[in-house]
């Protein structure tokens, strides 16, 4: 009995709970090659909401670099995902610890802008520029507010050049 309860709890807390949720379905060939994308997000955690700005640089050869700031410009997170999928946390903050950036921000970034379709992307694509990510610990309502196609500086995608402290 005790083992069954434990199993049930684990199942609910892990795979079973998320498998039943809707997944973000991106259209095929929706990935951008080279661009700078400005995002505005509302993060809901424990019923409380926080607004965030995201600045995403995408390079077909370099990878993806996302810088997240608060309302007045302070950098909360900075992460680089190389084309091979390796994640480099370039800058973290008290709001976003390296572990969270790696586990959630990088994962959500891959869900929305990754080259390969991911399976664990709970949420909805409300429009081509509006996404709702619904994970157990948080919800993220994310809108793309500006897209500037074009090559991005190579230094953006150099993991040896961390951001400013």
């Amino acid at each position: 009995m005790r083992h069954k309860l434990l199993f049930l709890s684990l199942a609910l807390l892990t795979g079973c709970a998320s498998a039943s949720r809707s997944q973000i379905q991106r259209p095929a060939n929706s990935s951008l090659a080279d661009a700078m994308i400005t995002q505005r997000g509302v993060l809901t955690v424990l019923g409380r909401q926080f607004t965030l700005n995201g600045y995403l640089s995408i390079s077909a050869t370099g990878g993806k670099r996302l810088i997240i700031t608060e309302n007045f410009g302070g950098v909360l997170a900075d992460v680089l995902i190389k084309p091979d999928g390796t994640v480099h946390v370039m800058r973290s903050s008290r709001a976003f610890k390296p572990k969270w950036i790696r586990r959630y921000i990088a994962a959500d970034l891959e869900c929305l802008f990754g080259n390969n379709l991911k399976t664990d992307c709970p949420g909805q694509m409300l429009s081509p520029t509006h996404f709702l990510i619904s994970r157990r610990w948080y919800k993220l309502d994310l809108q793309i507010v500006e897209t500037k196609p074009g090559p991005q500086p190579a230094t953006m995608f150099d993991e040896s050049k961390a951001g400013n402290p």
Binding site: T44, N53, R65, T69, F72, G73, H130, Q143, V145, N164
Partner: protein
Amino acid sequence: MKNWLTILFCVLATSVHADETNRNLQPVADPRPILADLQHKMASLESVYFEFAQERQLQLFAEPLKSEGVMLIDRPGQIRWETTSPYQSILLGNQKSVAQFEKTDGQWKKLKLGFPQMLKRVMDQMTLMHQGKLDALTSDFNISVATGRVAVVTMVPKDENVRSMLSSLEVIFQPDFSASKEVVMHEPGGDFTRIIFRQEKRNVKFPANTFDQTKPLDVAAIKTAIGDAP
């Protein structure tokens, strides 16, 4: 963070517009008379409206990250900071509470703010500053003044923790200190944020619901209402 946001809000209350690169600055030996004069000017201000362009310069990016908006301040202690581009967001505060609205799919939605006390603190201190009480400035910042083709008040945070995020804050005024032209916030790593003032209207009468925290009046209606103000 709270302190320099407060200062930012406060200095914006005496704003204006323009562009000038050659400052030709000379340091002022005793800035106290100038600060006292500033205090006098701020104390007499009933309300202010301005439009701003904000440029966030991160070394990683070739171009600054730009946004635009409006800021409105009215006695007693009412404030509205609205970003109009590239997204739309409204921050509202008064002596009792704060609120934030985001526009999503054409609809304004009121947020359940995560840390309302932080914004509330900013608004409370803003009220004090609006009444001309600049004591907080000298207790939190080392202040120096330089004059030339423009006048610059430089504030360096005394608190080491604050200084780790904000190395200095410059407020660039008209040479006669009648109004400020821009604010520049310098960070330790070389990144900075510049807020440039494009428009200013002083002592205007804002229409009803400008600062309403349930359904704030649309900014277009506000602009129309105060359009004829000097």
